[in-house]
């Protein structure tokens, strides 16, 4: 089932107004050769023309490691010594609108939004990672108790749709062994990093390496804030995939 109103403003979806917005956004997101693919994806977003123009897409240069806006390696990434993630890329800036929409999806439980968010992830994939041949998609798992409370894992819903779009299989490689508080309820960056230490453990089977011997994993999440969740996941995967594993993460918000 799909929404028939704009997710940004609740107004009607006027196709004529939308058309020019779609063209300009798709043009900015993709090279000329990939424009048709991007156009179709952008046109599928349930946003009206005005909201489409206001979509906080990160178009400028970004940190090569974590995808934050800025022309070189950002200070946070500079300080990290043992980097486990190959790189992170995100599509949107995390603003007030994104916050509300994401909380409607995650905490209110509006699962119909999964279609919209999955589309955003697909756009991000085509923008940043199209050239990489991934072996599988995996997601950041929820703790069993949290999953029972919430009833669904929001990232799993996205992964399923993304996998259908891209043809890359989803594997659940991880389980969460530690229940951590919500990010906003924790004290700071270091506290977050510490709480994430050893929060995941391996649940996948033996890794089947592809022809070149490497193992590339696309790790999904909804938001990259400090990156400690994703790094902790990557560390666990790397420990089992061996030296040839490489993990790229993709999130909607940064």
């Amino acid at each position: 089932m799909r929404y028939d109103t704009c997710l940004g403003c609740g107004g009607r979806l006027n196709e004529r107004v939308k058309e020019s917005a779609v063209r300009s956004l798709a043009g900015q997101l993709a090279s000329r050769t990939r424009y048709p693919v991007m156009y179709r994806l952008v046109a599928g977003l349930t946003l009206c023309g005005i909201c489409m123009n206001q979509l906080p897409v990160m178009l400028g240069p970004s940190c090569p490691q974590c995808g934050r806006e800025g022309s070189q390696l950002c200070s946070d990434c500079h300080n990290i010594t043992a980097e486990t993630l190959q790189s992170n890329r995100s599509l949107l800036r995390y603003n007030e609108w994104g916050k509300n929409l994401l909380s409607t999806f995650k905490y209110r439980g509006e699962e119909r939004l999964a279609d919209f968010f999955a589309k955003l992830l697909t756009i991000a994939f085509y923008r940043y990672y199209e050239a990489i041949a991934f072996d599988c998609i995996t997601t950041v798992p929820l703790h069993a108790q949290r999953l029972q409370e919430r009833g669904f894992n929001q990232v799993d819903l996205l992964a399923k749709r993304l996998s259908a779009d891209l043809g890359i299989p989803v594997r659940s490689l991880l389980v969460r062994t530690k229940m951590t508080a919500q990010l906003s309820k924790q004290a700071g960056r270091t506290a977050r990093v510490e709480s994430m230490e050893g929060a995941f453990s391996w649940a996948g089977e033996r890794v089947q390496k592809n022809v070149s011997g490497s193992y590339r994993v696309l790790l999904l999440d909804d938001i990259y804030t400090t990156g400690s969740t994703l790094r902790s996941c990557a560390k666990t995967i790397l420990a089992h995939a061996g030296p040839h594993g490489s993990i790229y993460s993709l999130t909607i918000y940064r």
């Binding site: 089932m1 439980g109 509006e110 699962e111 029972q148 009833g151 669904f152």
Partner: protein, 646 residues
């Protein structure tokens, strides 16, 4: 994961009392029946899906009534047949659910798991001595009952509410199940389903127990809470997720609680109001008061139809006083949050000893107890048979109007045999038909269009409290209205009224049909009145500075306000005029235009003003609005004449 057990209770000998029950804790049921009567409990089976258990209960109950209505004893074969029926039903449900969820893997081996039970328990009555534990349980029950009194809550909400009140929630399921068995509460699944059979296609019919939405508003989902086929309601999602596996608890307000408060009621009802009614107001208020005070059952709805500026809120005071003095709680519901915020302090001033709370989405008082609750119609959804008097203000306003979910919610908040009082300046047609009788003229051929002034179900107040007639709008058709606007060509009647109004030191509302028009009209006016630009502003619903701008307008810092329909009601600004630009647009229906016209001439020192409807083409609703206003003036005159004669 909670599991729900379905069992049939039969009396010791006769089958007459056979009935099916659903329970999350069978032991509690056993001990409950043990205290009361000797009976046999036959287990049918259990499932983690609450909605499934309830749908089976309904089917089993129907079958019991049909086959065992007479005094057959329950045989083993009969039981086996019922168990088989349940299994079949589960299988069919799973197939139908799976068909709707095509392409999705079920979380378990099947969409629905059902474990057939095949044992029966005989319960012999036993008088159990009241030991410490029993006493504690009884105490907990009464505390919980008091907190939940008159509320309809999802399981999560119940828990938060009880935690907030520091009630003991240890063993909550057992306590609630006891309340359900003794018929002091009901519980249901958030979403319930039933198999709808037809010659064409059988389907699974889902509906939300809380808001009544069905079919396409219910979204199927793979649920990790119950591990079964599940669904949630998208319509009332903002108030918490109503799912197939979430218990929804309904606790009607009890009589005892009401009589408890009777003594206190006398005190809280003290009306402290120094204002006075006009003659017509006094009559109307008295009529409403009599309706509320009338203990005769059957009179459940009453309409106060009072034109804009008749002083509707004051009319309520005597009715509220009566309801409070008999120990009841009063609910005033209205679709708009602004109205809630405006009403609460006003009523608190008038009823200084009563506790008044304002309940809306972001209110902190949402879970409090009070004598007078002023709530948005959405929040009313959380009440269940709680209030002996419910007043519904602005019946015809968005979002209540034409919203079956909210209508249902308000109707449910009224206690059994309670009173529902509608309040409106422009009651919708269906309400008029239901409650307003038409005037019967002696000549059959000449059927008068004027409604009756009062009957047992309504009272009409056609005149304003200051006695002057309502300003009648002037309609003007301007061909190419929007074209002129875009090309910045002068629209003389608009410019003239803006000039004269502002020159006289009055304020002007300029209503436009769409949000985009606000900016456009503002720009247009700025080109013609560049020196007045600082005194003009525009506002619409999504404007982040909305409250601030409206406040500035009230304080006369802005003299001209371009607005969408958000200011059509609830705003009183003395010495103001109104222009509607594009009155033919469908957002301006008859009721809306009458409300807009009602902004003008509300204070007694300036009872007249200008109302101008500018339309690009001829349309029905401005005409109808003018007709309605004229009729009201006519009625007011008639009433005056009658009174002089009397």
């Amino acid at each position: 994961m909670r599991e729900y057990l379905l069992y049939i209770k039969t009396g010791a000998e006769k089958m007459l009392s056979a009935q099916a029950y659903v329970t999350p804790c069978f032991a509690v049921d056993q001990s409950f029946w043990q205290e009361r009567e000797g009976c046999k409990l036959h287990v049918i089976g259990k499932s983690p899906s609450l909605a499934l258990a309830f749908s089976l209960r309904e089917i089993v109950n129907a079958r019991l009534k049909e086959q065992y209505g007479t005094s057959h004893p329950m045989s083993e074969e009969g039981l086996a047949e019922l168990r088989e029926l349940a299994v079949q039903q589960v299988r069919e449900t799973a197939v139908l659910y799976g068909r709707d969820m095509a392409g999705v893997e079920p979380p378990g081996p099947e969409w629905f798991t059902w474990e057939t039970g095949d044992w029966s328990v005989s319960v012999t009555p036993e008088i159990v001595e009241d030991d410490g534990q029993k006493l504690k349980l009884r105490l907990a029950t009464s505390t919980i009952q008091k907190v939940l009194d008159g509320r309809a809550l999802l399981w999560e909400e119940t828990e938060t509410l009880l935690l907030k009140r520091e009630a003991p929630i240890h063993d909550l399921t057992a306590v609630l199940q006891r309340m359900v068995l003794s018929e002091r509460a009901q519980w249901r699944p958030g979403i319930r389903f039933a198999i709808k059979k037809s010659w064409w296609k059988h389907r699974l019919e889902m509906s939300c127990e809380r808001c009544g939405s069905r079919a396409k508003d219910i979204e199927y989902t793979v649920c990790h809470s119950c591990g079964q086929g599940c669904a949630y309601c998208t319509v009332c999602l903002g108030m918490g997720r109503s799912k197939c596996c979430t218990p929804y608890l309904l606790v009607p307000a009890t009589r005892e609680a009401a009589s408890d408060e009777r003594e206190a009621g006398r005190k809280t009802a003290r009306l402290h109001w120094s204002g006075s009614f006009s003659r017509d107001q006094a009559v109307a208020a008295e009529q409403a008061r009599r309706y509320v005070a009338n203990p005769r059952p059957g009179l459940s709805q009453f309409l106060i139809w009072a034109v804009c500026g008749a002083g509707k809120t004051e009319l309520l005071f005597p009715s509220i006083e009566v309801a409070l003095s008999t120990g009841g709680r009063v609910l005033i519901a209205t679709p708009r949050k602004d109205v809630v915020l405006e009403l609460a302090p006003r009523l608190q001033r008038v009823f200084p000893d009563a506790r008044v709370i304002a309940v809306h989405g972001s209110s902190l008082e949402k879970w409090e107890e009070a004598d007078i609750t002023i709530a948005t119609t959405h929040q009313v959804m959380r009440y269940y048979q709680r209030f002996p008097l419910v007043v519904l203000d602005e019946v015809d306003a968005f979002p209540y109007h034409n919203n079956p979910m909210l209508e249902r919610a308000v109707a449910r908040a009224v206690k059994l045999e309670g009173k529902l009082l509608f309040l409106s300046a422009t009651p919708p047609q269906y309400l008029q038909k239901r409650l307003v009788a038409e005037r019967k003229e002696k000549l059959v051929l000449k059927k008068s269009k004027l409604p009756l002034l009062r009957s047992s179900t309504h009272v009409l107040l056609p005149g304003r409290y200051h006695g002057s007639a309502l300003p009648v709008p002037r309609i003007e058709t301007i061909p190419g209205l929007y074209k002129r606007m875009r090309a910045n060509r002068p629209i003389s009647s608009l410019l003239q009224i803006v000039r004269s109004t502002l020159a006289e030191g009055r304020q002007l509302f300029l209503f436009v049909p769409r949000i985009d028009d606000v900016e456009r009209v503002l720009a247009y006016l700025t080109t013609f009145f560049p020196d007045l630009a600082s005194q003009m502003a525009g506002v619409h619903a999504a404007d982040p500075q909305r409250d601030e701008k409206v406040r500035s307008f009230r304080e006369k810092r802005y003299r001209l306000m371009v607005t969408t329909t958000i200011l059509e009601r609830g705003v009183t600004i003395p010495r103001s005029d109104v222009v509607v630009l594009g009155a033919e647009a469908p957002v301006f229906d008859e009721a809306s235009l009458v409300q807009i016209a009602g902004r003008v001439g509300r204070s007694s020192d300036d009872p007249m003003g200008v109302v101008l409807f500018l339309q690009a083409e001829r349309a029905a609703s401005p005409k109808a609005a003018v007709r309605q206003i004229r009729r009201m003036n006519q009625l007011a005159k008639l009433q005056e004449a009658q009174e002089e004669r009397a």
